[in-house]
Subunit: 111 residues, 2 copies
DNA sequence: GTTCATACCTCGTTATGCGATGTATAAGGT
DNA sequence: ACCTTATACATCGCATAACGAGGTATGAAC
């Protein structure tokens, strides 16, 4: 991943919820899309992604549906439920306030 | 803590290193100081703090020293080693680039 | 016809936050 | 004198989670 792996924790769900709030996506697409947007700095591992998706599903935040892609391959598309959309907004808010607090502590440590 | 606990992971070491780069502090002081700076939004738990400090010590990033405070109580002061100062700069850099990437993914998800 | 990209998944290891719990001292109230 | 509270250190065990490794299946390309 490039980053200290520990930094990632907690932001996984946030990223998934926000990505899916844009449009329905299938697993492999999520991996590629997040790499593309981060210029390969960020790479979802499959061992991370699928369990995370399933967990969000279990929590009722996402729904899943098999569709056949243009290439004839079966793809499992994931999308947000109503609760998921709420959770997306909530977790994004939490992310902003969290980074704000960390940055506050950091900046005061510089003086 | 208020936040999704998972968000914290990985930023703990960062915060400790940056706080100690400012001045030597003892454990209890770190807890109070981080609460003060975040307006009580951020509270280090003792079960989190001390193991984290010991781990940083084991990695050679911090040194510790018992001193007697003005109130007559024994306090264990922690400070950064040379390696710790380097690690502080490194982890701060990593934090900034990490938040940049996450924000990049988030912002594109809004369009 | 074999290799590669696509596409899904699970399991076990490892790491870690932190609640619970324990110890000890000093201060302050009653 | 006694109790509570704040200070100050620490450990242990539970639960959670990232992810490397491994597994299966399909279509395309060479």
């Amino acid at each position: 991943m490039g980053f200290d792996r520990e930094l990632l924790k907690g932001s996984i769900a946030l990223l998934l919820l926000r990505l899916l709030s844009e449009r329905d996506m299938y697993g492999y697409e999520i991996i590629q899309e997040s790499m593309r947007r981060s210029q390969d700095a960020f790479e979802f591992k499959e061992g991370t992604l699928y369990p995370a998706l399933h967990q969000l599903h279990k929590r009722g935040y996402i729904r899943s549906e098999w569709r056949t892609g243009e290439n004839g391959k079966q793809r499992k598309y994931y999308g947000l439920t109503a609760a998921g959309k709420k959770a997306a907004r909530r977790s994004e808010q939490e992310w902003f306030s969290f980074t704000k607090v960390v940055n506050a502590i950091l900046s005061k440590a510089n003086t």
